[in-house]
Amino acid sequence: MMNCAECQKRIAAYVDAELPPAEMEAVRSHAQTCAGCASSALASLERKLAIRRAGLRYSAPPELRARVFGLCRAKAEVIDRKPVMRSARAWLPQWSIAVAASMLVAAGLFVVANLRQQQRQSLGEFVDLHVATLASANPVEVLSSDRHTVKPWFQGRIPFTFDLPELQGSPFTLVGGRATYFHQEPGAHLVFAYQRHLISTFIFRDTSQLGLPAPPAATREASFNLRSWTQGGLRYVVIGDANAGAIRQLSEQLQHAQ
């Protein structure tokens, strides 16, 4: 059985979870029967949490985020495209360019029609996500009406940050949030309450992968009102069964917060 001196010597490493398993267990057992060492461990843990809270201080400006993320993406695209362009030029005879151009116009019309169909499907998928989440037993992973709790919760869970509006004096309250995925993109799903309605706000990085119509979009899908826009390199989608005016008002408050 560990004594107090041995336990105290290990408390810092214990709260850092850095002791070997047997010693972790020995400290835990000792602290269960020793109020002094238990309070020391608790004090260390509180100190650790206080420093963590204080240390999570700075948020990167959106311009830097866009620059860095763009840098990474541009590198991948340049590498992907270069060989294709070189090989195409190598074998195409001059006369074929005119023929190819006319074929591209025809193909383009087909692609545009197809793209619109895909974009409508993407909006429909957001409706599905909204309904499925609200129907689940735990619609939100972080439950809070306080934006200062919800926003930091997403840190480390999604590859971007966003600002939440001050809702005091508005008809909306923030219920909570959860991390979500859409077409393999990680994003934030926030749930707001408006009267007896729940409104979902999805936030993702604005990539073509999402397959959404060009913003701004205000539409109805399966009787849900929906608004979507792009801001600071992020794509926002607000969905709910509340009236279109409420969806617009919440969207504007989110836009002003950024």
Binding site: A50, L64, L71, D80, P159
Partner: protein, 182 residues
């Protein structure tokens, strides 16, 4: 998709989620927004270029943080900060026995602002170790890789950093409770 592009996808998957942490750490190191922006951007450029030398299966987070720290140390601010490191306190292999007295509650009860002020004033070698441990929640092994020092040194610096922080906050509290002019 070629192999290089595949590795870029992998780079994005690994590196982009670290963006916020890297920026926060860079701000704490540099004390300056513009400098932190330059530093983070440079880190991504370097990491992207050097990604082929990164050994798959090893700790990517420690690898990127090490690039950030090394880049910072060769900057003008970094060089200046290194000169102010209290050398006599450096690299003590022994770990101080830390009796957690009620005094340690001083840190927990400090306001966010007073703790931030104290962290700002910590010498670089203590500030970085405490941020990596408490804020980034890294293991001693990861910190040892980033700082390129043995684990024993990580533990002794951490212990000392906590002690200094505690003393700073205790001093702050005493100063506040002492009426002006006395």
């Amino acid at each position: 998709m070629n192999a290089q592009n595949g590795s870029d996808d992998e780079f994005e998957r690994l590196a982009l989620p670290l963006f916020d942490s890297l920026y926060n750490f860079a701000r704490w190191l540099t004390h300056d927004a513009a400098e932190a922006e330059d530093l983070v951007q440079e880190v991504y450029v370097k990491a992207l270029k050097g990604f082929s030398s990164f050994e798959s299966g090893t700790d990517f987070r420690a690898w990127v943080f090490r690039i950030l720290r090394n880049t910072f140390l060769t900057s003008r601010t970094g060089l200046r900060a290194r000169l102010t490191v209290p050398l006599e306190l450096e690299d003590q292999e022994t770990v101080a026995v830390t009796w957690e007295t009620p005094e340690s509650l001083v840190v927990a009860s400090g306001t966010r602002q007073t703790i931030q002020d104290a962290l700002e004033r910590l010498p670089l070698s203590y500030r970085e170790v405490i941020l990596l441990c408490e804020v980034e929640e890294m293991k001693y092994q990861q910190i040892s890789e980033i700082l390129a020092v043995p684990i024993g040194t990580v533990m002794s610096r951490l212990s000392r950093a906590r002690k200094i922080l505690r003393e700073m906050l205790a001093g702050e509290r005493t100063a506040r409770s002492t009426p002006a002019g006395k």
